[in-house]
């Protein structure tokens, strides 16, 4: 018994890695379809966007890079589909240097999405009219304050190199004060800057989608209703995909939703490991105390 306890307490970490790997890989190959339902934080963000009038402009800041792609990128895709289905007009930008390529890839995938008959889902969308992709601009807070004055001065050209001052969208919506909603999808601490320098300054509602690491940091802002909605990590994104009906739109299980089975299995394994390790620790300690008593 004692040798088994000692062996289990000193188990090779590679065995644990292998179990984690299996817990992730197996559900991806053989989906378990574990049910989950949207939480209030995610539903609040979704409901806010749903409540916007057709034609309203939503500023989407894609402040994430490849390192957090599984948690954040599917959220951008779901949000864009939701915007285009509701005839909202997104202005997309990024304030992180590794963001422009991903944001462009996400936008393209949505613009090129097709229905079962092979027709484009959104065939009539025109850049500069129904949406705009501004790309990356360094400066963080300076950019936020800049677009508070004027989009076209801060971004004289969009990502494609076309002059923004000639685009109908920016004639109608010249500055941040004219957009209806701000949505920051972030893997870095930028939501804490979007709040004071953009949302609070221009008195605009704002929601945040962030990595799971950051959620605890942003809950106080959600509790104070400064962030109207909070989409946290892959789980939050999967809930948003469920609300948006991404499975019907894409006609396949969307990425974050597909990851939920694996996420659940790994969590069960980690919780069990913690419980077992603690029980073994106390058993081992009892053995050691007994040894000390017997000399």
């Amino acid at each position: 018994m004692r040798s088994a306890v000692t062996a289990l307490l000193n188990v090779d970490r590679r065995i644990i890695y292998t179990i984690v790997l299996l817990c992730v890989a197996l559900p991806l190959l053989f989906p378990l379809k574990i049910k989950f339902s949207p939480t209030r934080e995610v539903r609040d963000a979704y409901d806010d966007i749903q409540a916007l009038e057709p034609g309203s402009v939503v500023l989407i800041s894609c402040d994430y890079g490849p390192a957090s792609m599984p948690e954040t990128h599917p959220m951008f895709i779901a949000l864009l589909h939701q915007c285009f289905r509701l005839k909202l007009r997104p202005i997309i930008l990024t304030l992180v240097p590794d963001g422009p390529g991903l944001a462009l890839r996400g936008l393209r995938s949505v613009l090129e999405a097709r229905d079962e008959q092979g027709n484009l889902l959104y065939p009539d969308l025109k850049p500069g009219v129904d949406y705009s992709y501004l790309g990356y601009k360094p400066g963080g807070q300076a950019v936020m304050l800049g677009i508070g004055q004027s989009f076209t001065v801060t971004f004289p050209q969009d990502y494609a190199g076309d002059s923004t001052s000639q685009q109908p969208l920016f004639k109608e919506v010249p500055a941040l004060g004219d957009v209806a909603y701000i949505f920051d999808i972030a893997s870095v601490g930028l939501p804490e800057f979007w709040l004071p320098y953009a949302a609070a300054r221009e008195k605009k509602p704002m929601s945040v989608s962030c990595t799971a690491v950051s959620v605890a940091q942003y809950y106080p802002y959600y509790a104070s209703r400064q962030f109207h909605g909070l989409v946290g990590g892959m789980k939050g994104t999967a809930e948003y995909e469920l609300l948006t009906g991404m499975e019907q739109i894409l006609r396949r299980v969307p990425d974050a939703t597909r990851g939920m089975d694996a996420q659940s299995l790994v969590h069960i394994f980690i919780v069990l490991s913690i419980v077992i390790a603690n029980v073994l620790f106390f058993i081992d300690r009892r053995y050691k105390l007994a040894d000390r008593r017997t000399g």
């Binding site: 590679r14 240097p97 004071p196 990595t211 104070s224 694996a262």
Partner: protein, 220 residues
């Protein structure tokens, strides 16, 4: 075109990404020369990418472009001021001229403090205090939540109040604060585990769906 109508460039991209993923994951087994190669390749690529992004989005449009315009626009000599200030920061590497960098930092700190102080007070400080001190209602559940929040904030602040020795009543209150801090750390740790697992899921999704299914088997 090749498997499942994928362009050959995309297939090469899938193979390169898959190879890099496996090379980096090989560190889980143990440190090895292939991992070192992957690590250095990543650092080099990331640095090169950052330099290009920095040059085309920052240095050229804000410094070189206005001084040497391409399309016959007038030169903007005002950009010489930030350029000189930027050079002063670089001079920290020259001990005899390092003091010049103070001027640049004074401008930076003064500017950012001026921007940040009112914004942070109006958007972070006051609303957070108001939210914490909110009325105990409207229902029992909300009232209990707010009471717990208030006790958590108060006891945690007492823990970080070092002007009084943590003994007696103050000591007991600060110990309650420690419990709240531990719960906070636990929640953060749980979320961190979730985030790291998500990254592994993302990589395995890529390996299974894109690399194996699309690039190798030519499905989907």
């Amino acid at each position: 075109m090749s498997h499942a109508g994928l362009p050959i460039g995309e297939i090469i991209g899938f193979w390169a990404s898959a190879a890099m993923t496996l090379i980096i994951l090989s560190f889980i087994y143990k440190d090895n020369p292939v991992y070192k190669f992957g690590e250095h390749l990543f650092l080099g690529t990331a640095l090169g990418y950052s330099w290009c992004i920095c040059y085309y989005n920052d240095i050229y449009p804000n410094a070189i472009g206005p001084l040497f315009p391409r399309h016959g626009e007038p030169r903007n000599y005002l950009v010489l001021i930030p350029i000189v200030l930027a050079i002063f920061i670089m001079l920290r590497m020259v001990p005899s001229l390092a003091h010049l960098s103070r001027m640049s930092f004074a401008v930076l700190i003064g500017g950012y403090a001026g921007l940040a102080v009112p914004a942070v007070i109006m958007a972070n400080f006051l609303p957070q205090i108001t939210s914490t001190m909110g009325a105990l209602g409207p229902d029992w559940a909300t009232a209990i939540n707010r009471l717990v929040l208030l006790i958590g904030v108060f006891t945690t602040l007492i823990f970080f109040f070092f002007s009084l020795e943590h003994r007696g009543v103050v000591g007991r209150i600060s110990r309650v604060g420690v419990l709240f801090i531990m719960v906070g750390f636990g929640a953060s740790f749980g979320y961190t585990v979730m985030a790291r697992v998500s990254l592994l899921i993302g990589r395995l999704q890529f390996l299974i769906q894109d690399w194996v299914m699309r690039a190798i088997l030519g499905r989907g």
